[in-house]
């Protein structure tokens, strides 16, 4: 098995745990779990570009990294003021 594909598969539990944590508990902990899941999803997408030898997939990871930050800021604003 390709080591990058093995890395993708090994990362999946580390992706599933924050997804589960984002579904329960206090809203602050859920927000931290979403940020964690976003970070792990970015690494998974990066490893998938090597695992499947598709260089174009890296743009998905770059897009996720670029969009995650403003999304987090907006959610933090909602958390601070209204939620």
């Amino acid at each position: 098995m390709n080591p990058w594909l093995a890395g993708v598969l090994a990362m999946l539990p580390a992706f599933a745990i924050p997804l589960g944590a984002a579904c329960r508990g206090h809203i602050g902990g859920r927000f931290a779990a979403v940020q964690f899941a976003t970070a792990v999803a970015t690494w998974i997408l990066i490893m998938m570009t090597f695992a499947f030898d598709q260089p174009a997939l890296i743009d998905l990871a770059l897009t996720l990294a670029l969009l995650a930050s403003p999304g987090t800021l907006v959610i933090a604003l909602f958390l601070e003021r209204w939620l």
Binding site: I17, P18, H26, G28, Q35, A39, A61, E80
Partner: protein, 93 residues
């Protein structure tokens, strides 16, 4: 030799992600959990970026991965600060 280095770096990245996930479960407060996010972004990101440069050389893909890691580090610091501030403001309400 290069393949072994990539294997070790990927294993390190996965180990850091697992460690961060364990911390996310075990740590009690949201403030503590934000440290896990920063740890995974920094540690796994560095390992994966290095592995990509070893596997690919200096290519467009490797440079984009470097950009993703730098964006993650810079934006992660800002996001952690904003999140912590939001949580503090919320707790004072």
């Amino acid at each position: 030799m290069r393949s072994a280095a990539v294997d070790v770096l990927l294993a390190l990245a996965v180990l850091c992600a697992w460690l961060g996930a364990a911390g996310l479960i075990r740590l009690p407060s949201a403030m503590d959990r934000l440290h896990c996010v920063a740890f995974v972004v920094a540690a796994s990101g560095a390992a994966i970026t290095l592995a990509a440069f070893i596997a690919d050389g200096v290519s467009d893909r490797a440079l984009k991965i470097l950009a993703i890691t730098v964006i993650g580090l810079l934006a992660g610091a800002a996001n952690a600060h904003v999140t912590g501030r939001a949580l503090l403001q919320r707790s004072e309400r």
